[in-house]
Amino acid sequence: MARNVTPARKATMTAIAWIIGLAIFFPILWTILTSFKTEAEAIASPPSFVLFDWTLENFSIVQERSDYFRHFLNSVIISVGSTVLGLIIAIPAAWSMAFVPTKRTKHVLMWMLSTKMLPPVGVLVPIYLIFRDAGLLDTQAGLVIVLTLINLPIIIWMLYTYFKEIPVEILEAARMDGATLRSEILYVLTPMAVPGIASTLLLNIILAWNEAFWTLNLTAAKAAPLTAFIAAYSSPEGLFYAKLSAASTLAIAPILVMGWFSQRQLVRGLTFGAVK
């Protein structure tokens, strides 16, 4: 909406927007700043903003105590793996709901969403027993499966809303030209839905990265992602604000950076059919 505004108005709006933006971002900034302080400075009163002795000590302590890289790698494998697997299952499902809808489509969709409402803690013991018997405890594969299932409804729903916006005529034209269903989906539908798929992918990586119940309860050492890494710093004996901040910074940095770089893609598709 390019409207003509006076510079004064633009300046006011800019000031307000920046103040609010910085206020919202402030807790994260503060965490990052604290991670460079010593423990004593981290709880000092009054707190110092930037005029303190910057130190990398906390990061080296955290790295020495817990293998950051392994947790990071597990987080990447689990979140990307579950998202990709989810997309592979969801794309055909969303296709069929968007282009061959039946009376029940809407109900199926709502039912799928409602499976997300089931409180995970209520089914922990059954799942733990199943995982134990299947040898899936503390494996990346196990977590990929669980997180795929957890996020599948959201993936299907997001894709469904994008697919709905694609004119059926284009797919029909492709079919007229003799395209098989497989190539229709792979070569016609998917390229057209790339923005939507990209956005779904990003959103689900974020959700999977931050999932803290299953990732914590189904892992021990080998497959533990960053959520478990954080659990080692949450309330140890002694002063811990600075170390906690360093661990937090390390845990959120990758997803924050990814989110910022891809925010255009994320935003473009993040409509859930809300925009016509």
């Binding site: 709006m13 920046w18 910085l22 009054p46 061959v100 499976t115 409180p119 209520g122 803290a212 997803i255």
Partner: protein, 290 residues
């Protein structure tokens, strides 16, 4: 028009997803129903016995249960109100021509990327702590008595933390919706002499209705199972002031290690969630021709 042939294919293509979710739902659900009828404490193996509906009776008559229902409702509605209203305002602001729009947008969406556990730890320790938190420092700086957030306004504090995390999500969806608003329509109304408030209520808000519905739907799904924030900050207290349904089931399952009781709670939560789902579906049905 879909042919008979394509219908069959469509069934085939949707079936993996449906079967997987059905399995994901039914197998744990079946086991949970079974466990909920047993006296089954994880710490006392070999003592499992059939108890019929005892677990349900205890869960439903637990005084904490009604507190939990109320808290769940307050939490969901509170967060929804803050994020939707705040989101609309923020979206309107970010839609204005401003300098550095991209950077402001990056700042605003950042909380959405933060792990709930991390966000709760940071808020609790570094902001809301009444002795060494930043809010306490600020209050002392202004000569005020520091406010003990988690003791005296526990549920509000949790709502605040959760809203901080979900505000970006609401803002983003609403902003995208806002940007799709036909500017000619706005300009026309401007010509007609409609003021800003009128334009907002008669053109902008109706346009955002769908987006708001979507925000409510998605957030409700996640907000019903808020857990990490409560565990890290208040562990459901003081008293039962911040115990929501999910946390109550957690307490049954992993503090009492009462699998039977936890399972019964889980089943009750699933039933309630489905009632909410039906309600939401009605709402969506009106607003979203899915």
């Amino acid at each position: 028009m879909p042919t008979q042939h394509s219908r069959v294919k469509a069934r085939l293509m949707i079936s993996p997803a449906v079967l997987l979710l059905l399995g994901w739902m039914l197998i744990p659900l079946g086991l949970t129903v079974y466990f909920s009828l047993l006296r089954y404490n994880l710490l006392m193996p070999g003592m499992e016995q059939w108890t019929g509906l005892t677990n349900y009776r205890y869960f439903l008559t637990d005084p904490a249960f009604f507190d939990a229902l109320r808290n769940t409702l307050v939490l969901v509605v509170g967060v929804l109100a803050i994020t939707v209203i705040g989101g609309v305002l923020l979206a309107l602001l970010l839609d204005q021509p401003i300098w550095g729009q991209g950077i402001v947008r990056v700042l605003v969406i950042a909380p959405f990327f933060i792990m709930p556990t991390v966000s709760a730890l940071v808020w609790k320790n570094m902001f809301m702590n009444p002795v060494s938190g930043l809010f306490a420092h600020a209050a002392k700086g202004l000569g005020l008595e520091p406010f003990d957030f988690l003791a005296h306004a526990p549920l509000f504090s949790i709502i605040l933390m959760v809203s901080w995390q979900w505000l970006p999500f609401a803002t983003l969806i609403l902003l995208t919706a806002l940007q799709s608003l036909d500017s000619e329509q706005l300009e026309a109304s401007e010509m007609d002499g409609a003021n800003y408030v009128n334009r907002f209520f008669f053109i902008v808000l109706p346009h955002l209705a769908r987006a708001i519905t979507v925000v409510i739907l998605i957030q409700t799904i996640f907000l019903l199972s808020i857990f990490a924030e409560i565990l890290v900050t208040t562990t459901g207290g003081p008293g039962t002031a911040t115990t929501n349904l999910t946390f109550l089931i957690y307490a049954q399952s992993l503090l009492h290690f009462d699998v039977g009781g936890g399972a019964a709670g889980g089943i009750i939560a699933i039933i309630l969630a489905n009632i909410v789902a039906i309600f939401l579906m009605r709402m969506i049905g009106k607003n979203l021709d899915a």
